[in-house]
């Protein structure tokens, strides 16, 4: 399904969250499609089931997944995932931090703008 980078500064559960978000947003996971079980995905990633469960719980809280006792966990419809004001401002804070660092390092405004343009263009499908 995907891979975990143990050397990443992101926690494992956070990496799982992000990768699954990617799969859902890009439509690789169809809305309503069944996710692997907590135990299966944990086995595939050689990771603890509790860690996967944590990721699933977070994704459900954010509306990317929904679960049914005894049946499984399913991908939600990306159209219906409402971005909360909190989530957006958290993301904005991450951008601000990154820009701060570049500013402190003396990277020029022009270079920074170019860098961001590259990052955005990496996602050709971003409308």
């Amino acid at each position: 399904m995907f891979a975990i980078d143990l050397k990443s500064r992101k926690s494992i559960s956070e990496q799982i969250v992000d990768q699954i978000k990617e799969l859902i947003v890009t439509g690789v996971m169809e809305p309503g499609e069944k996710m692997p079980s907590v135990r299966d995905l944990a086995g595939e990633l050689t990771v603890n089931p509790n860690t996967v469960q944590k990721a699933y719980r977070l994704l459900e809280q954010q509306g990317f997944l929904y679960t049914a006792q005894g049946r499984g966990t399913f991908a939600a419809d990306p159209e219906e995932i409402a971005a909360s004001r909190e989530d957006v401002s958290r993301a904005k804070a991450m951008l601000r931090d990154g820009l701060d660092q570049l500013y402190y390092l003396g990277v020029s405004r022009k270079e920074t703008e170019k860098m961001i343009d590259e990052l955005i263009t990496e996602r050709e499908d971003w409308t």
Copy 2:
């Protein structure tokens, strides 16, 4: 000198690092100007001296400060602070993470670009 936000997700030492970088880059601290001693700044911020020392050590490693045994710690010349490739790519990774989050949340590309433009424009002096 500045303030610490205990509720921030950033660690205290990281906040000190960032705030001092800001003071140096903006020229509020003149090159060669003496920084408050570890103990003084710790007292002012009601923070442990070890925490301030950690921040000073990091800032020295990154070239923002230089120290002289028994004399004190001093602000470096911003002109001479060389941005390492590592530092820049770390900052770039922060930007990528923030953009990822916005993408996952379904924020449009246009809105994202507007948001970034605002963030950059907040720093009027950024050349």
